[in-house]
């Protein structure tokens, strides 16, 4: 085990601008600063979100510096993709600047891999099936043979998108998740919605179309309850199928939709019934943050990844299958 490494990470893929600092080994979170953009109306406007990040970046950096001496930084990481181009460029620009100023290596990391690996670090899950669910993503994944394998995914829109678009149509604002969860807890009446599982894939577009036609006709609490029950059952079903197929006995959820307590409750129940373990962790780390970027920065740096500033353009459509997972044993410290 070598000298401990300290990495500062910049997250700016979508609505959150985050700066995090992680030290390893042993895994230690040093600093976690976040600023979140809330659209006045509608969903995320990429250029407005980027403007928010520019406006808040200095403030967030000052807060970080007040908590931690940046001279201790060994590696500078940023979320290189996937995400919204205008937003990604803000974090990237700051990371390049800091890397040049401190004369420390620059690492561009994958946002999805970062979600998965912060979950693994916080739960010490060794070989889990991962359900990655966020505003833009819905995938069931597993790391094996030195790469990420996508076992199943949505054939159209993500579950986060389903919830956000419904919430907008129902006048609940953005992001929709917290409001939908709150209203769902007030109902136990199931409105029948399309349940679309195809092998290990899911599809939500039919459910969204139907929901749009039901807004105003059915009580909004009942619709919120029914979305959660139907959509989350689909996600847990494909996750269970993946666990059964691989013979894996650990399950984690990564990404912002994991903040929904009903989804995590279902995950726990599914695992309990098949004598496996759902590994949960503090809810604030399901959301986008800089800490996960810093941690993934350490992983990728240890795997030998480094970027020259001139080659560090962002990758808005970067697929996780092109990224290396951490070596086994990484989470034993």
């Amino acid at each position: 085990m070598g000298e401990p490494l300290t990495c500062i990470g910049f997250e700016s893929t979508a609505h959150t601008f985050g700066i995090g600092v992680v030290k390893y080994p042993p895994f230690q979170i040093i600093c976690d600063v976040r600023r979140t953009y809330r659209p006045v109306s509608g969903g995320i406007h990429p250029s407005e979100a980027a403007k928010h990040h520019v406006d808040k970046a200095l403030e967030a950096l000052v807060e970080t510096v007040s908590k931690f001496d940046v001279k201790q930084v060994d590696v500078v990481a940023f979320a290189r993709g996937p995400g919204l181009g205008p937003c990604l460029r803000i974090g990237a620009a700051l990371a390049r600047m800091l890397s040049l100023k401190l004369e420390k290596p620059l690492v561009g990391v994958n946002h999805a891999a970062s979600h998965i690996n912060i979950a693994r670090a916080l739960t010490r899950a060794v070989n889990p099936v991962v359900l990655y669910v966020s505003g833009g993503n819905t995938q069931v994944l597993h790391a094996s043979g030195g790469r990420y394998v996508i076992l199943g995914e949505t054939e159209d829109i993500s579950v986060g998108n389903l919830i956000d678009v419904f919430a907008r149509k129902a006048g609940l604002g953005f992001p929709g998740g917290p409001r939908v969860m709150e209203l769902a807890s007030k109902s136990s009446r199931l409105v029948k919605l399309p349940y679309s599982v195809k092998g290990m894939n899911v599809s939500f577009s039919g459910m969204l179309t139907m929901l749009e036609s039901l807004v105003g006709k059915e009580p909004v609490e009942d619709l919120c309850f029914s979305i959660q029950e139907t959509a989350f059952s689909m996600l847990i079903e494909v996750s269970e199928r993946a666990m059964a197929m691989l013979g894996v006995n650990e399950f984690i959820i990564a990404g912002g939709v994991g903040a929904n307590s009903r989804l995590r409750q279902m995950a726990g129940e599914m695992c309990r019934e098949r004598n496996t373990v759902f590994k949960d962790y503090p809810v604030e780390y399901y959301a986008d943050n800089g800490v996960m970027i810093a941690w993934e920065g350490i992983i990728q740096y240890m795997l030998g990844e480094k970027l020259a500033v001139e080659d560090s353009t962002v990758k808005p459509r970067w697929r996780i299958t092109d990224v290396k997972p951490p070596p086994t044993g990484m989470y034993e410290n």
């Binding site: 092998g199 059952s233 199928r241």
Partner: protein
């Protein structure tokens, strides 16, 4: 975990336990039968869980029979219970096609499977989980089993996905290209819409959702 069996059934052994169903080999009315039971899922609200298990049980039994009408060999459905969600069907003696993948008969069996899938698709049925493990070689006959993910569909996309699942599962074999060609040859001999399905198959292989680059390349080259 074991499921309660239908009355009059005695379990010989459990053949398979998947995420959604348990498949038992049983004795029933003096015969060897297979009992497939869809188990309740505690994470789903009861109302949703029961409706999903019921509709899938009924659909699977219906597809097993419809496939037979189309000339595709499947187990006989003896009994269906859409409340307890089990199906009693005939037990097919034989070996799985998967266990024969290194035998000399395998290529001709793959061609034959192609023509069977062509008949199935022409009848508007897709299997949904088409792998050699779900094909039983029983003497001269090939019998398709496990229609748990099957559907009634005439969509070119779904038919192409069926074939894609099968060719993906053959990808590790040394004579992979020849096997795919044999399968397609058989498929063409009986499928109504073969050119459109094959065109879509090439498209799917380029999407690369699950596949490795190598497999994508091999499928894409004519």
């Amino acid at each position: 975990m074991s499921s309660p069996l239908p009355q009059g059934c005695t379990r010989i052994r459990t053949l398979y336990q998947g995420a959604e169903a348990i498949v038992d080999l049983c004795e029933w009315m003096g015969m060897k039968v297979v009992v497939k039971t869809r188990i309740p899922k505690g994470y789903r609200v009861k109302e949703l869980d029961e409706s999903i298990r019921k509709s899938r049980t009924v659909r699977e039994a219906s597809i097993l029979s419809s496939a037979k009408k189309a000339g595709v060999e499947t187990p006989f459905v003896y009994h269906v219970n859409p409340v307890e969600n089990w199906i009693i069907m005939s037990y097919v003696e034989g070996e799985s096609l998967r266990s024969l993948q290194y035998s000399s008969a395998f290529p001709s069996l793959v061609r034959k499977l192609g023509s069977i899938i062509g008949m199935l698709h022409s009848a508007g049925i897709v299997h949904g989980d088409l792998t050699p493990a779900n094909v039983i070689v029983s003497g001269e006959r090939l019998v398709l089993i496990d229609f748990g993910l099957g559907e009634y569909s005439n969509e070119v996309e779904k038919k192409a996905e069926d074939i894609y699942t099968l060719v993906s599962s053959l990808a590790s074999l040394p004579n992979y290209e020849a096997l795919v060609n044999l399968f397609l040859e058989g498929y063409r001999s009986s499928a109504r819409e073969s050119p459109r399905v094959e065109e879509r198959l090439r498209e799917i292989s380029m999407r690369g959702r699950y596949v490795e680059r190598e497999l994508r390349r091999r499928l894409a080259s004519p």
